[in-house]
Symmetry: D2
Subunit: 282 residues, 4 copies
């Protein structure tokens, strides 16, 4: 397992797709050196996009996290979120003007409204709303009183037959160095089993979110997949997704995949990146 | 689908195993006529046991539900709960005196103490308790602050490698005529996937809980399986469990299996009872 | 595990369903004492049926095996074969007069002709027959040149979209005391995976073949499931099927389930019979 | 779906991994222009390897297919076969000098002998050979009397507990433009289910065969994965395997993936190559 420097490798590409958590930031905030790295990319004329399984707010809100921390080179046009894929699904599959019941924070309503639909908080749905519902979206594990609202969601799903969209398929997320929390993808699994339904999931490792980022990049300038690099810390989502989309991948060891476990995890999961780096900032 | 009266059929047997919810009681309380039915069984010298996926309290506490409602013929000796199976597992597999972290109501501590072990509420477990833990038990979906305690459970499971016991494998339960809630079996499924572990589940349809009831019945008087009848309202747990244990079964239509769906559900699930009755009290 | 005598137990019932192989016969031929047992059943006014996963010939041909060995009490009216279930499916689902391509012995054509359809041997099917095909049936692992005909079957399945019927779901069968052979159910599994199709399987443990036997028995005289006993040597097919149909079951230890393995197999598979006997003739 | 010319694209790389069937050859023999293509690669100083799920003979024998057809640039050193992976497994896991029972052609014995083991044809194995067996290898669907030898294999597997190696995991292969045949991977699936064992499979899409080719290429000259291109006609094996190994991939439309189905298959399977070409010779 030969390990190179990210800056050495990246100049072979015209576009970089970054995962956010474990790559650019972690539970303590932004990683040191990210600001300088993005300036370096700009100087080398390398475009970048942040592909994230996060549907907690609009691309503008997601990018605000970075500008609030002094990283001005990340704007809403750099964000590619799983919420955007869910929005596209809603737009293509739900009759305009329908109600969409959602589980999550109020800031996620953006994705429903942008699809020309009317958001309704899960807590407030009543059986006489059922005929007007066009879809149900599970955005997030926060923003509501957990147990009663999950149970309410179950009853709304059972009482209707509209599509159920999971806007973030992640099962778990880190909250600090030693602890994790269940993400909305786990809630979705639980509801799917009990309701005996098949939900629609959007986000990495599904190649469609990479397809969206690739389309966005090609609107800036014409590129081929050969010129695209995906960088992430998780084999199952970032590397598998990038590989399956047919682009080169870099696994960084600054997040969920620890240096001493990387080789074993690659062997067990049978997923290898094109390269391995300690981090994007070393 | 020929439907007979329970009272006609039951005299062929010496022992009856009843499911509780949907058979003897429902969301409104005890069904009318249960008291008279139990007196009839006594007169006919037919013993009975209530086999229930309920670990929320001791057999004494579970039977108190009935005596509080004037049903004096149901005592703790008639109760066979999934909690009792879990207790037996703990007794046989965990070193006496160990701590057992549990998720549920304080009344479930009975099953840990009876196994000569020391209960500790999940909320209060600290990493320095990990070496003293002998098992983790998931009893119930109530008795704790849901989201933080579920996440805490995930971290305790990930931080140790002790057996995880699911004392009630049910995925869902009815709360009123039209609404349901997720039971602790669903929480267990979610945690099991994320923790990538195999939990130990006790309760119907696992034949071991029927085996326990059969042992208890045989301590009263010598019987064969041919003389035992299992009565329940759910094909997947009551009827499947009774069938797999090799005893006759009656499906009652007073609970989760509605009259107009029964035949289709039997066909889909490929599970048939020996008989079908409207209820135990008709 | 208390073991009783079959003759003791059987008098509690009015109808017995027998599995054939491992119960009434084995690789050496008929078991000693079967003739006398059937005479005893007749004297006690107990009807019997042989439920068999065998579609290699008509009920008449299947019963001839017994009459050729001096067992005159078994006639075609006593035979309930998986072939009969397949025939019923063909009759209900295929347009009369259609061609049905089959894999198996010529004696299985009976089941196609009785469904008012036209059999065609798999070996002779040509692409220009495809539009006239109404179904494909896999009857048996014998009666054809194995490798080319299996490959031919794959190509016919891929070239059409008609239903594929598996008239015997067994995966393996014993050929002598120490050796086994792959049955047509294994061939079906292999083809199903490669063709990426879902086949229709008929035979034990599917309750529908028990339903058919129960209907036939009820045409002789009115009986309830309580009066029916299923006897078999295999937990996965005979006992599981009988249990799921809601009748009492006896596991005999004269076939595939050996005495010293029975308890462990019952525990592992979580399937228990009502009774266990050494054999039907002890 | 933008389609480029292979010759245009290949000059970006230093090493090409080719799949054989559907890429360089098909049921009619070598594709026109392959000889010239290989000369072009040589002139551009691009090395190449043929990665094939074929264990029917030694690398020398596999390369002879090409030299017999006038393609002199393909020698045994260019061949990377699934048989070589199986040989490596045998060498590392079986005690030297042990017997290895095999299913396949006599030309596959090469892989057993090279692992310092003693081949024995499956047909001739006797129960008293069991204690001397170190492994069982399934090489091919040809070279033996199919049905009796498959059944024999089942009995040998059941009679021993040695590892079972599948030297070619393919389920099916084309025999002409419209017909297919079951490959030994399908036979392996059937036996694995019935024997209730877990076999060891070697070949694409398992990344280890790509690892072996990458090691061989690096012995010639130092290269990185970025400089490697995998070319194949099958999404499930060639493209998935190349992607998971982290190298760029080209899907060619000259074999199992037809031009008009390519986009749908990529969407359904969620596997995309880096590029798509009509063929390697256009």
């Amino acid at each position: 397992m030969h390990i190179k420097t990210f800056k050495e490798l990246v100049t072979q590409y015209k576009v970089v797709f970054f995962d956010a958590y474990g790559v650019l930031k972690n539970h303590s905030g932004m990683m040191n050196g990210v600001k300088e790295l993005l300036a370096y990319l700009k100087q080398k004329n390398i475009d970048f996009y942040i592909i994230t399984n996060d549907a907690s707010g609009s691309p503008t809100l997601l990018s605000k996290y970075y500008s609030d921390r002094g990283i001005d080179l990340i704007g809403s046009a750099n964000m590619v979120s799983s919420g955007m894929m869910s929005m596209r699904f809603l737009k293509e599959n739900v009759h305009p003007g329908s109600l969409v019941a959602y589980l999550g924070r109020i800031t996620s309503e953006f994705y429903i409204k942008e699809a020309d639909l009317v958001p309704i908080r899960m807590e407030t749905v009543k059986p006489n709303d059922y005929p007007k519902l066009g879809a149900i979206v599970l955005f997030d594990d926060a923003g509501y009183d957990f147990q009663p609202t999950i149970n309410k969601t179950l009853n709304v799903i059972r009482g209707t037959d509209v599509p159920v969209v999971v806007a973030n398929p992640d099962l778990v997320y880190p909250v600090n160095e030693s602890e994790s929390a269940l993400a909305v993808g786990s809630v979705a699994n639980m509801l799917e089993t009990v309701a005996n339904r098949k939900f629609f999931r959007f986000g990495k490792p599904d190649p469609s979110v990479f397809e969206l980022a690739f389309e966005m990049a090609n609107k800036q300038r014409k590129i081929s997949k050969r010129e695209v690099l995906m960088v992430g810390d998780t084999l199952d989502t970032d590397i598998l997704g990038g590989n399956n989309f047919g682009v080169d991948t870099i696994l960084v060891l600054s997040g969920s995949t620890l240096k001493n476990q990387a080789q074993k995890m690659m062997d067990d999961k049978q997923i290898s990146p094109t390269y391995i780096c300690n981090s994007v900032v070393d």
